[in-house]
Symmetry: C2
Subunit: 430 residues, 2 copies
């Protein structure tokens, strides 16, 4: 098969929603040391193209285990993608396992071998050459997916009606080959992910179910992380435009709790709205310890909007960095409405920002008391014309409290920015 | 079988290093929306008990897919743990799938049904009862693992010589049942994970291989994340104390690059050394945007050592929060040795800390230039008697540069603290 023929065949399988499996190879995966990230990533891409992934497996760097997983996947799947185990070391046995499972032989691809020799002669001792050249071994009859210079090729072989695809494990090498394979497969856009903040999973579920009543052919999944809830709508035979109509109805039902679609993060939503409003942001953090600033600065281009922040963990830091009155901290406590408000107004003024958020609370496990138990967090948002504060009580361990507090701070900033853009608040369809 | 008999059988399988498989059930897993975390967690527990996990699979909430994965796992594994799909909704079909794969019938367990009815009568509309009672259905002949009141039981059935274990998906319900199963299995402590910072993967590999030359029965895995390298030593038939001797030799070879064992994080190591030395810490961050502070404050008890920090993203913030001379920033640039040093000394003085680190660099994708390309990051460490700075050039995208810069800042703090504790630097066996 030529590469073009492979691409065409994959597109046919995708159009037919054929069953697909992904097998990730690596002893670190089955020992539980590392979570498999290739499996979910490949599955997502295959599903977007229309394939139906109903198996993701991790197996160790062991020829028998890989061959056995591959053989059993072949009984039920039309496309099987194996990632990893194509490198030069003695642990890299995916080629041998595939040869065994498919009853094929291995032979050196002269072009790949040439490229590997070229790199080896420049960078390595001659003793390493034989080992490196193992990467040039391809299954008899395989279509080669060209690698970057000096790395392992991808390989595609037909096994009966099925296609078996071997891809390198490193994501940088794997991704371009996977993209090549899916070139001709239309992205079905059969999924819409709508993201929300500020509502419970149950509230989201109720609103969405009401919005979807009467529609058919739409599969609903509600996914809750500690502080955010995603709504996934999947086209399962809806009418044309049915998915888009459903998404529109759900967005309206979610109101201002909806902050974006797809992969957008809450921090991106905050920066986008602030950028559109021409406003700059600052933050003052105690219990979140820099997590809010870190989330904002993780977004490329954050510097156009985000000026900076203070992590005022110790009480003295709240005074020395932000000018919070030590007497206020002594009388009202660092976890209080006036402390949060003084932190927000302090950081806003020091950095000359248009809007600022502050977070001060008790993440635990220590530090709680009867009237301020672990999980008590005060938030404040300050702008030129107003300063507001509110308290939340989060359950969970330290990590859970910090995660929820970080998301809540970002969402309070977002809600304040949305209200400034549209003071009527007409966006909330609840 | 009684529960005790199951526990004894699992201990026997563990002692024999029997092959085990884990199957995680959930459509959100195979669609790539959520990564499977149950699989790796269960695998880790089973491996610690001595079992050899060579398959972790994710399958959707689909009776055929689950039954097929279970049937094919049964051909090669003595213990198969299935998590998820035991709840009350129509999506929860693991019971039915297991009945199909094992050719067993389902019947209601009267005790579980009673407990479910008790909860249902208090909390739910009567229409929901039938659905909730599905959770009481157990495989004929199954040993029931008692759940919390009103949730699904775990189930264990023998299938030939193999054991099939069904556990609920929610980790809170799954964990206690898994722990019960492994009660009698000795934890083999057959693995040592030694963590390093500051060395490349190749350097670590070379040092460790040299340290292990002449030893046998130890399997070595070197795991590299973007900026840290873990060394995993696994007992594969070493002499008594062989694993511990190997770990000791490897620690010596790694010298000060070794920062701890097991699950310890680099931030924990920094806080532990600073705490032992009675020193307090502050940080000033530009391109890492709060990530260093967030990593430190993620550790319970961080407040004993970490005072706070400044996220000075905009140039003005470096001056207003830390007192960095604007003229210095104008002439030398914000990404420069003097800027990093002024940030470190500034935050140290403002917060009254014993030692402070500063990070200023270009994370990209924008902001690079010919002499300061994306990935250029300056670091400084300031204490009462010295201020030092150094530059690193990281490759990778924004996220990669930020991750590497965060880890490097923590490691420079750690190395500075280690040198203060042991000025001879005798710890490095390189």
């Amino acid at each position: 098969m030529t590469v073009d023929a492979v691409i065409t065949r994959v597109a046919e399988l995708a159009r037919d929603h054929a069953p697909a499996a992904v097998i990730a190879v690596g002893t670190e995966l089955t020992s539980g040391l590392h979570a498999d990230t290739n499996g979910p990533e490949v599955a997502r891409e295959l599903e977007s193209a229309g394939l139906r992934v109903d198996l993701i497996s991790s197996v160790p760097d062991d020829e028998h285990a890989i061959a056995s997983a591959l053989a059993s996947a072949l009984t039920r799947h039309a496309l099987i993608v194996v990632t990893g185990g194509l490198g030069p070391t003695h642990d890299d046995v995916t080629r041998d396992a595939a040869a065994r499972a498919l009853d094929l032989t291995l032979q050196a691809d002269p072009e790949i071998a040439g490229a590997l020799r070229q790199v080896t002669s420049r960078h390595r001792e001659s003793g390493a050459t034989a080992q490196v050249l193992r990467q040039a071994e391809v299954l008899s009859g395989a279509t080669v997916l060209t690698p970057k210079l000096g790395t392992a090729p991808g390989q595609v072989v037909a096994a009966g009606d099925a296609l078996v695809v071997l891809l390198p494990g490193p994501p940088r090498e794997m991704r371009p080959m996977l993209r090549t394979l899916l070139t001709a497969a239309e992205r079905h856009e059969s999924v819409r992910t709508l993201r929300t903040a500020g509502l419970t999973e149950t509230d989201v579920q109720l609103r969405v179910q009401r919005a979807l009543s009467g529609t058919s052919g739409i599969e609903l999944t509600v996914l809750a992380t500690p502080a955010l809830v995603d709504v996934v709508l999947r086209d399962r035979g809806a009418s044309p435009d049915g998915l888009e109509h459903a998404a529109t109805a759900v967005r309206a039902a979610l109101g201002t709790a909806w902050y974006g679609d797809g992969e957008v993060t809450l921090a991106e939503a905050v920066l986008r709205i602030a950028g559109a409003a021409g406003m700059t942001i600052a933050v003052a953090e105690s219990c979140t310890g820099g997590s809010v600033a870190a989330a904002l600065t993780d977004v490329p281009g954050a510097s156009a909007v985000f000026l900076g922040g203070a992590v005022t963990y110790a009480d003295d830091a709240k005074s020395s960095l932000l000018g919070v009155d030590p007497a206020l901290l002594a009388t009202r406590g660092a976890v209080s409405a006036p402390a949060a408000e003084a932190m927000a107004t302090g950081v806003r003024k020091r950095l000359g920002a248009d809007i600022a958020a502050a977070i001060t609370g008790i993440a635990g496990p220590g530090g709680g008391s009867a009237d301020k138990p672990v999980g008590t967090v005060w938030f404040a948002v300050a702008s030129a014309d107003s300063t507001t504060s509110e308290v939340r009580h989060f359950f969970g361990d330290r990590h859970g409290v910090r995660t929820r507090a970080t998301v809540t701070a970002l969402d309070l900033l977002r809600q304040a920015l949305v209200r400034r853009m549209d003071p009527t608040g007409g966006g909330d369809g609840a």
